[in-house]
């Protein structure tokens, strides 16, 4: 059965409305394509070859770590394929297939004859940063980590936000009142300072940062979901479900929540872009991901510190701006899709 066949007419209309917002529709596809490309960054930008043929054997160094001794070297450590010695040793008895960009996000190009940051050239399309790492590779990995971080944070904070908002709106009364007061206090905290202080105690990693940001980002959806639940809990269909003997959880998640999802879904792209901005700004300040990780925020810091090397700042800016614009366009299209009064002419 086709997709359109399984959708209710209402959802079909929404899909249609989404498609009619050409800008948002194309933005979604471009964003998905970029994300898909970045998911396979290892195949596109890597300092380990995709395929090596050595003494008649095929090896896949980008998946499996081979010691240098496997290629006739002296050390038990993993082979450094960028080392001219290893490269020559392999090419004598076979061949190497390199990825499109033969640098990883952390590999330093020591062969370059110019001081870092090196300007764009044929080997480094967008130049290198101030530690000699390829900018394109770092952007690719940085984009991926931003999107993955943003998606995870959005998903987790939406789940928490929806559950809290649902409980609040459904039970009302003192549950509603106390959570509401807590939200006001919690929302009044200076988030950035707290994160800076907290990151002084712990070595931030991807998951630590996620947890820290989650402490404050779950509040975005609470109000919307709470309002929807407050509205819906006195509807006749909820009373009918109660008359059937349905329990609270069943009523909340089977009857009310699907009707509150419209507001949630149309806010999600904006929460996603917000999460990415948060990560980038922490990285920019140096309180984000551990040093050395590819990150768009860190790239901007480098651009700020190396104004003589405009390719750093400009490329990071273009990537962040494009990413956020695409998401905002998608968000607009989603909002259109759920707008019952929207008419196109």
């Amino acid at each position: 059965m086709s997709l359109a066949g399984r959708l209710s007419p209402l959802n079909r209309r929404r899909l249609e409305n989404f498609r009619r917002n050409r800008r948002g529709f194309w933005s979604l596809w471009i964003f998905l394509a970029l994300f898909a490309v970045s998911l396979v960054s290892e195949v596109i930008a890597n300092d380990r070859p995709l395929l090596v043929r050595y003494e008649g054997q095929l090896r896949v160094p980008f998946l499996v770590a081979y010691p240098e001794t496997a290629f006739g070297g002296d050390f038990e450590t993993e082979a450094d394929y960028r080392d001219p010695f290893v490269r020559n040793a392999i090419e004598e008895k076979g061949w190497i297939v390199w990825p499109l960009i033969p640098f990883g996000h952390g590999s330093v190009d020591k062969d370059l004859g110019v001081p870092f940051p090196a300007p764009p050239s044929r080997t480094h399309w967008l130049g290198t940063d101030d530690q000699g790492r390829d900018v394109v590779a770092r952007l690719l990995y940085g984009f991926r980590i931003s999107v993955l971080f943003g998606l995870t944070l959005t998903l987790v904070s939406s789940v928490v936000g929806v559950v809290v908002g649902a409980l609040q709106g459904y039970f009302g009364g003192w549950v509603d009142l106390s959570v509401q007061r807590f939200l006001e206090v919690w929302g009044g905290m200076p988030v950035l300072y707290l994160l800076i202080i907290l990151s002084a105690f712990i070595q931030p990693s991807f998951w630590w940062l996620l947890a820290l940001l989650l402490l404050f980002s779950w509040m975005a959806l609470v109000d919307v979901v709470r309002a929807e639940f407050l509205r819906a809990r006195n509807f006749d269909y909820v009373r009918a479900a109660r008359a059937l003997g349905a329990g609270d959880a069943s009523i909340m998640f089977r009857h009310v929540l699907p009707n509150a999802m419209v507001a949630t879904l149309s806010m999600m792209p904006f929460i996603l872009s917000g999460s990415m901005v948060q990560l980038s700004s922490l990285d920019f300040l140096g309180f984000g991901l551990p040093p050395g990780s590819p990150s768009l925020g860190e790239m901007i810091t480098q651009g700020k510190n190396n104004l003589q090397a405009p390719w750093l700042g400009v490329s990071a800016f273009v990537v962040i701006a494009a990413m956020l614009s695409l998401l905002v366009f998608v968000g607009e299209a989603v909002r259109d899709a759920f707008d019952p009064r929207k008419t196109f002419r």
Partner: protein
């Protein structure tokens, strides 16, 4: 003969559905209206009555709506179709005024009555505040709010009752002494007693001021009471028109005959007087606390239900009647244990008042409810099949999905719905079909008691009759007991064996239906009857304003 005040010829209205498709809502409609005359436009929902009326004032959502060429609307000799917005503003509220159906939403909640009524005066007559104030008091007097007019000037819409709000709406419409008043179902949202008062007011005002009136309604009783001529609409066309007496006594079109025969008829079949008692309540009270002060102490109570006794035998129907606010619905919810209450409730001889939480669940299977609004009572995100199967799922009935599906199919068949439709969503159904779905949802559990909370009042007249027939048939087949809550006495008479009249949460009269209907003892009951069956208002303070 003088030329008619309003002459509509071959008026059509189409709506853009998107994607180049257009729907025709009104199809070459013609009617005319002389000065001082009342024409009723009658038809069921969706027949194009309101759209026709709104096009007279050019108030449709243009350009989404459009009038195909060939039609004309002449008001006092002037063509209104396609007239400029500036010209229309001079006509609207000045020479042609309108009263809408829903008095709560058609008044601005943030404006006082004075400002609300004065707006038309300021816009069209440019009266000074003092002159406008005098005129507003006069107008409020005209619509029967004279005694409190001065005090009411500063009131906001939420401080007024439904009937008073509608009176304010009428005062607004009358502010500039229009030649034509368009009333779009002005009495549908109010109680029968208020309806009777409003109809009396409107026809009195019309005679006094010599206005013409275009009256839109789906209620044939109202037409008989107020209009001199009637035009019957069906799917965007006028199928029959003429003087009321002639059309009603000698209808020429099938659809008119269908409408005329659609009023709920018949009487309940005689019951077994010795059937076991299913439901019993003694001294049932639902008091809502009124809290005040910093410590939120309870200072008094709103007594929604105040000491009601009742008992209902198997297979019998208890009709609960009263105006809105009399506690009917609260009583129903309290009996179902959906609203907290005090007093004794016994179901099949068992005290159910003390049951809590899970202990209550088995009971839920045996007592079910059908709500008034068929649009609000079905979850919009579940398919019809899921909605009906919900109860089976909760109570773990039916061996597996296939068995449950078979039960759902049977229930849908029983309420005369095509079982194939169970994969569709509620919004694809009409009001009457939705109400059938709600009945199927209640019946699928094979309950013994069903509380019917105004199940017919949101439906068109002919659909009401079908639902009443269906309910009666299901009752006979399954020996169901009904608590039938309604303000519509016609429907109650067609179904109830026993009637209980509620006023302010107390029972003022009760007895076998025939006795109460034929010889009401209380003045309150008599006023209700007069309003319902003769559309006449009985004064004497028996019925609240």
């Amino acid at each position: 003969m003088a030329p008619p005040l309003l002459e509509v010829n071959d008026l059509s209205v189409t709506f853009d559905l998107g994607g180049g498709r257009r729907a025709t809502a009104v199809d070459r409609v013609s009617f005319s209206l002389g000065r001082g005359e009342t024409l009723a436009l009658v038809g069921e929902s969706g027949s194009g009555k309101s759209v026709s009326a709104l096009s007279v004032l050019q108030l449709l959502p243009y350009p989404l709506a459009a009038h195909p060429p060939g039609g004309s609307i002449r008001f006092d000799g002037e063509e209104l179709l396609g007239a400029g917005e500036a010209r229309m503003r001079q006509v609207r509220g000045n020479r042609v005024a309108m009263v809408f159906q829903e008095p709560m939403t058609s008044l601005n909640p943030l404006h006082t009555i004075e400002r609300q009524v004065g707006e038309a005066l300021v816009i069209h007559k440019r009266l000074s505040p003092a002159a406008a104030r005098a005129r507003i008091v006069e107008l409020l007097g005209l619509v029967g709010m004279g005694a409190q007019a001065e005090r009411r000037l500063g009131a906001y819409p939420h401080q007024l009752s439904g009937g008073q709000r509608q009176r304010v709406m009428i005062a607004m419409a009358l502010a500039n002494e229009p030649d034509l008043l368009i009333a779009d179902e002005p009495t549908t949202a109010v109680d029968v007693t208020i309806q009777a008062q409003l109809l009396e007011l409107l026809s009195g005002l019309q005679k006094r001021l010599g206005m013409a009136m275009l009256f839109i309604t789906h209620d044939l009783g109202v037409v008989r009471r107020i209009a001199s001529r009637v035009a019957v609409m069906q799917s965007g066309r006028i199928v029959e028109s003429g003087p009321v007496a002639e059309v009603f006594s000698n209808p020429s079109h099938d659809y008119t005959r269908h409408l005329l025969s659609a009023e709920p008829k018949g009487r309940p079949a005689p019951r077994d007087p010795a059937a076991p008692v299913v439901l019993e309540a003694r001294d049932l009270r639902v008091w809502f606390p009124v809290k005040a002060g910093v410590l939120r102490r309870t200072v008094s109570h709103v007594k929604a239900v105040d000491g009601v006794d009742l008992s209902l035998r198997e297979g019998h129907t208890l009709g609960v009647v009263g105006e809105s606010g009399s506690g009917k619905t609260t009583l129903g919810m309290a009996l179902l244990r959906l609203e907290g209450s005090r007093g004794e409730i016994r179901f099949s001889g068992r005290d159910v008042q003390a049951l809590r939480g899970r202990a209550l669940r088995p009971l839920r299977r045996e007592m079910q409810v059908v709500f008034q609004d068929p649009f609000g009572s079905l979850s919009p995100r579940l398919s019809v099949g899921e909605i009906v199967a919900e109860g089976l799922r909760i109570h773990g009935l039916g061996a597996d999905a296939a068995a449950r599906d078979a039960t759902v199919v049977e229930a849908l068949r029983e309420v005369r719905l095509d079982p194939q439709t169970r994969h569709r969503y509620p919004h694809e159904f009409s009001g009457g079909q939705r109400q059938r779905i709600a009945i199927a949802r209640a019946l699928v559990l094979k309950p013994r008691l069903v509380v019917l909370d105004e199940p017919t009042s949101a439906l068109d007249m002919s659909v009401q009759a079908q639902i009443v027939d269906l309910l009666r048939e299901l009752q006979a087949r399954h020996r169901l007991s009904y608590v039938f809550i309604s303000h519509d006495l016609k429907v109650v008479r067609a179904l109830a064996d026993e009637v209980m009249v509620l006023k302010d949460g107390r029972v003022v009269e009760r007895g076998p239906a025939s006795a109460v209907f034929d010889a009401p003892r209380e003045p309150y009951t008599r006023a209700l009857m007069a309003a319902a069956f003769e559309l006449a208002a009985i004064g004497g303070g028996a019925v609240r304003e």
